[in-house]
């Protein structure tokens, strides 16, 4: 194909592909070669999609009863053949990427009272081609909007929570808070973690408007005990606390 024949969307796609080729991570474990064990067909479009769904469920912190799933880019183009739709729903039900029930995720969703809608849309050039935006409502009425991208090899990144820019890989225990943007909140959170011997691997705080709400995502090396989550919930400045387990 001549290069001048490429449509704009093809160019965009190539740009993303090029971006995703580097930088490369060293592969150390033989189980990254003989593995992972997963439900096919695609590590990015199926296994990664399960992970995005599962992370969205953890971020909701409740059993989801309604989901709107917007598929973007290559997810939108190939989701039927790759089962991306079923994979995300499976993740919302709490399944792991190697769960053989993924294929029948829709009937499991029906049985468990999860209603869902699947649509395709162009979310914009700034998103990775394998991206889904998921709006969830839980049993207790709480809602959340999560944007996640499948960035290759089954690895994923949650890039937005309720419009806050975040970067959550789901490979660590992660603490996510939405809190009032006033001085000292981050210090309170980190000192509580430190007092419990929990080591922070990566932390990121973002806000949309100064002085309103902010969102902190903190990836840590240890399991986060339930009472730490409870204690954080009692801080008046903190509205939402979630513990996202690695998947």
């Amino acid at each position: 194909m001549e290069s001048h024949n490429k449509s704009q969307s093809e160019r965009k796609f190539i740009k993303h592909v090029r971006g995703r080729c580097m930088p490369r991570r060293r592969v150390e474990s033989v189980f990254e070669i003989i593995g992972p064990v997963m439900v096919g067909p695609s590590s990015s479009h199926t296994a990664g999609a399960v992970r995005i769904g599962r992370l969205a469920r953890e971020l909701l912190g409740d059993r989801p009863v309604y989901a709107k799933i917007v598929l973007h880019g290559s997810f939108a183009e190939t989701y039927r053949g790759h089962g991306t739709d079923r994979a995300i729903v499976a993740g919302l039900l709490g399944f792991a990427p190697d769960d053989e029930r993924i294929r029948d995720a829709f009937s499991h969703a029906k049985r468990e009272g999860l209603k869902f809608e699947i649509v395709t849309a162009d979310l914009g050039e700034e998103y990775h081609p394998n991206t889904a935006k998921i709006t969830l409502r839980g049993e207790k009425g709480e809602t959340i909007e999560v944007v996640g991208s499948s960035i290759g090899g089954g690895h994923v990144e949650i890039v937005e929570i309720n419009g806050f820019l975040v970067s959550i890989s789901g490979t660590y225990h992660t603490l996510v808070t939405i809190h009032r943007d006033v001085p000292g909140v981050a210090a309170k959170i980190t000192s509580l973690l430190a007092s419990r011997g929990i080591n922070i691997a990566r932390m990121n705080i973002t806000r949309k408007v100064r002085g309103e709400d902010a969102c902190a995502s903190i990836e840590v090396d240890q399991e986060i005990p339930e009472d730490v989550v409870r204690a954080l919930e009692r801080y008046p400045e903190i509205r939402i606390v979630r513990h996202v387990r690695p998947i």
Binding site: M1, K6, E10, F13, I14, V17, R18, R20, C21, R24, R26, V27, E28, S29, V30, F31, E32, I33, I34, G35, P36, V37, M38, V39, G40, P41, S42, S43, T46, A47, S74, E77, T78, R80, G81, H82, G83, R86, D98, E100, I102, R103, G152, G153
Partner: protein, 292 residues
């Protein structure tokens, strides 16, 4: 952790020659050290993966799954049930099994990537078939998976194991090379012969592009698993016969990596070139995205 034996085939082969150990054993020891766990634990994890592989072969051949392209459904069954004309019966079975596992993967079955999901049929089909035909113990097969895994690690770090990065030579090509090396070690070839088999297998599929129709891991992926199996047996047979690779294995791996980097993006899983860009493929893609 940096260990020479997962950096170069030469280092791995010399270590095996120096210690008199099998490559599989060295890789097992490396993994135990990397994870800082007892060897048993690593062994059991590999056993678990072998069970997934076996299971995928058994389930995939029992009932050929539906594929997104209806005309392709049942390919592996056709090959499995035919009395072979040109190939020996074990080889024909191995080919059919690799296709079956690839079909199973395409239809949301549970597989063990080796090294990727698209090429996941090659290693299980080859190992399952030799286990059955030559009465090889499961323990030997699990050890051979370490051999294959070590080969894959070296290739992943010197070149690539991703179709999006380096074309299908990095998926089906690498799976085939892993299987070839594992076969040589299983059948008592020397560590040097393992390296020769890997080099031969990689050279035979060098330059193979990644061009899946409609972006789905179906066509030509399933048939490429079949050629990966054939090429593994061929390369192992040649190496065991004493055929050497003129170019050392590490240099072949590096060349494969370079070919992969230089392949135009059209040929790296973008769906813009090769088989994926043929008029029929374009039509199939439209008909798939049109069906709601």
């Amino acid at each position: 952790m940096r260990s020479g034996i997962v950096e170069s085939m030469e280092a791995l082969v010399s270590e095996a020659e120096r210690t008199g150990k099998k490559i599989g054993e060295l890789v097992l020891e490396y993994e135990a050290k990397l994870k800082d766990v007892p060897r048993d634990e690593v062994w059991r994890e590999m056993e678990r993966r072998w069970r997934v592989m076996k299971d995928s072969v058994i389930k995939a051949t029992a009932k050929p799954p539906q594929l997104p392209f209806k005309e392709l459904t049942g390919m592996s069954r056709k090959v499995l049930t035919r009395k072979p004309l040109f190939l020996g019966s074990p080889l024909m079975k191995a080919v059919a099994r690799s296709m079956a596992v690839a079909e199973y993967n395409a239809s949301m079955g549970r597989i063990c990537a080796a090294p990727t999901a698209g090429s996941a049929g090659i290693l299980p089909a080859v190992l399952y078939t030799v286990m059955e035909e030559y009465e090889i113990s499961e323990d030997s097969i699990v050890l051979a998976l370490f051999t294959a895994g070590g080969i894959g690690l070296i290739i992943a770090n010197r070149a690539s194991i991703s179709g999006a990065e380096a074309g299908c030579q990095a998926e089906c090509g690498v799976a085939s090379a892993m299987a070839a090396g594992a076969l040589v070690e299983l059948f008592e070839g020397s560590p040097r012969m393992v390296a020769d088999a890997v080099a031969i297998a990689l050279k035979n599929l060098m330059g193979l592009i990644c061009d899946p129709v409609a972006g789905l891991v179906v066509s030509p992926c399933i048939k490429r698993n079949a050629i990966g199996v054939m090429n593994a047996f061929l390369s192992a047979e040649m190496a065991l016969a004493g055929v050497k690779s003129l170019i050392p294995c590490d240099e072949v791996i590096d060349a494969m990596g370079e070919v992969g980097r230089k392949l135009p993006l059209e040929f790296k899983e973008t769906g813009l070139g090769g088989i994926a860009a043929t008029p029929t493929a374009e039509k199939l893609k439209k008909s798939l995205t049109g069906q709601i």
